[in-house]
Symmetry: D2
C-alpha cells in the first residue's frame, strides 16, 4: 500500500551527540544510531498527535520493531549536531515500514547533504501483554493518511 | 539492623568490558559502572534464590534504587576482565543498603587488590503499579538472614 | 573556594524521555539519570564557550568523573519532558563539584517545583593519554569566574 | 571469497538479560540486540587470538560496522539466558561479513532451536585516526582461514 502522504513529507528532528553515545573508537557506537532512529520515529508520531504511552493505555497495544536494515556511511562524533529523519514508506494492516536517515545539521560548503547513516525500520503492532501481532488501530492509519489494505 | 550474614560474605561476579561500555575518552562511561553494580546485585539475589521477575509476578512489587554514592578511583578499559561485588550492609523494612565494588579479575603483582570503583546503593521495595514504598516481602528478608525491624 | 557566580546562576537544559531510557519496571533505568546529568554539564560548559572536544585537541586534557552522589525521589517515565540543571558548587585546581537536578518541565498545579532526582558530581581534569590528574586549564577556571586556589 | 572454515564452525557465547537491556515495553530494547551481537563478534575474535585493543595499538587500525540487517522474531526478556552466535560468511580485503543469531540457552521441549533474532553484520577495517578504509591485517585473514582476494 502506498501512503497518501507525498514523498517530500519527511519529518526532521535535531539531536546532539553526547559522551554516552560514543565508544573507545572515538565515534558513535553502532547500536546507538538505532536509538536516534527511534527518537525520530517517536517525534514523528508525536507530531501527528500519536502518543505511544497514551495509545498503550487506551488500546493495550504497542509497536515493536520486526526488522532493521542500516547502512553506516560516515561516523558521527562527540558534539556533532545532527538531523534524524523519518518518512513512511509502506503501511499494512499490522506493520509500518519507515525510511530513516541521519545527517549533519549544517550542510556542507558544497551545499550537498551528507548522509551519515540510513536505514529502513519495520515496526509491527502487537498486544502489549501477549506480544502477539494485531491490527494497527484505525486512528493511527487514518492519521498517517492510509486506507488499510491487506498485508502483502 | 545488622544482617546476620558475616562481613566476609561478599558476593562476586565476573564481567567483561565491551565496546558498548566505553566512551570517546577511551574508558568506561561513568554511568555504566551503575549497570555493572546492578548486574552484581541481581546475580547476588539470584544466588540466594531470589528472582526479581518471579517476585514481581507473585508479589506485585519490585526494588527501585533510591540513593547511590559512587567513588571512581581508576577507569576500566576495553577488554578488561573485572569482578563486581555486592554485600548487604543494612536491611530495613522497606529498603536495603548494599556495598559494591569493581576490581580487576587478576590481582596485581603485589598481590594487593585494586579497587576501580566502589559505591553504596540503597534500594527500596515498591508496589510495581503505584511505585509507592512497601514492606520488603518476608521471604526476601529471611533469605538475607534479617529479622525485620523498624526503619531507622 | 567559592565561585564568584551567584547561587541563582543555575543552568537549565530540556530533555525528553525515550524508550531507550526506560526499563522493564516501566520507569527510567537508574544509571540513565547520570546520562542526563552529563548532558546538562556538557551544555552548561558549552553555554560558557567551553567545548570539550576542542579542549582535548588543544590541551590534551579532559574531565573524568571522580565521585557521584545521587538521590532518586520520583521516577521519570516514557515521554516525560524534563529539565536538567547544573550549578557550580566548588572549584579547585584539579576538580570541580557540580550540583545537578532533574525536574519536570511543567510545574505542578500548586506551582511547586518537583525534584525527581538530584545529585552532586565531582569531575577532575586529567591528561587524556595517561589519565593522571592535572591542573584545570586557566581558561576554564576564568570562564567559570574562579580564581584558582589550592585544593582543600 | 569463501572462508575455508566449514559452515558448521559457529561460535557461541552465553549472555544474560539484565534490567539495563530492557525497556518500558517489558522486553529488550531493539538497539541492544546489536550490543549482544558485538559481544559475540568480540568473543569470537578473542577465541581466535585476535584482540582488538592489541591490534589497534600494533596496527593503528580497527573494525567499524558498515552495514547491518536484523530480523527480530521474538523478544527477549529480563533474566533470560541466551546464546549469541557468530559465523564468518564472507571475507574480503577490507571487510568481513558475519552471520549472527540470538537464541535461548535452553532448547524448547520439542528440541527445536528457537531463534529470537538474527542478523548479518558487515565490518570494515579502517585506520583508527583517519577512519579511512584499509586492508585487513594479514594476520587476521590468515587466522580466519582466508586467502585474501580482491573485494567483489
Amino acid at each position: 500500500m502506498t501512503p497518501s502522504t507525498p514523498p517530500e513529507a519527511i519529518f526532521s528532528w535535531p539531536l546532539r551527540i553526547y559522551w554516552e553515545d560514543t565508544d573507545a573508537g572515538g565515534i558513535v557506537f553502532y547500536a546507538n544510531y538505532l536509538k536516534f532512529f527511534e527518537r525520530g520515529r517517536t517525534e514523528w508520531l508525536r507530531s501527528l498527535g500519536i502518543g505511544q504511552q497514551h495509545l498503550r493505555e487506551t488500546t493495550g497495544g504497542m509497536f515493536v520493531v520486526s526488522e532493521t536494515t542500516v547502512k553506516y556511511h560516515r561516523p558521527a562524533r562527540l558534539d556533532d549536531e545532527l538531523i534524524v529523519t523519518a518518512a513512511l514508506r509502506e503501511a499494512g494492516r499490522a506493520s509500518l515500514t519507515i525510511a530513516q536517515t541521519l545527517r549533519p545539521k549544517e550542510f556542507l560548503p558544497s551545499g550537498a547533504p551528507l548522509t551519515l547513516c540510513e536505514g529502513t525500520i519495520r515496526i509491527g503492532w502487537v498486544d502489549a501483554a501477549s506480544l502477539k501481532p494485531a491490527r494497527i488501530p484505525r486512528q493511527i492509519l487514518e492519521t498517517l493518511g492510509c486506507s488499510p489494505q491487506p498485508e502483502a
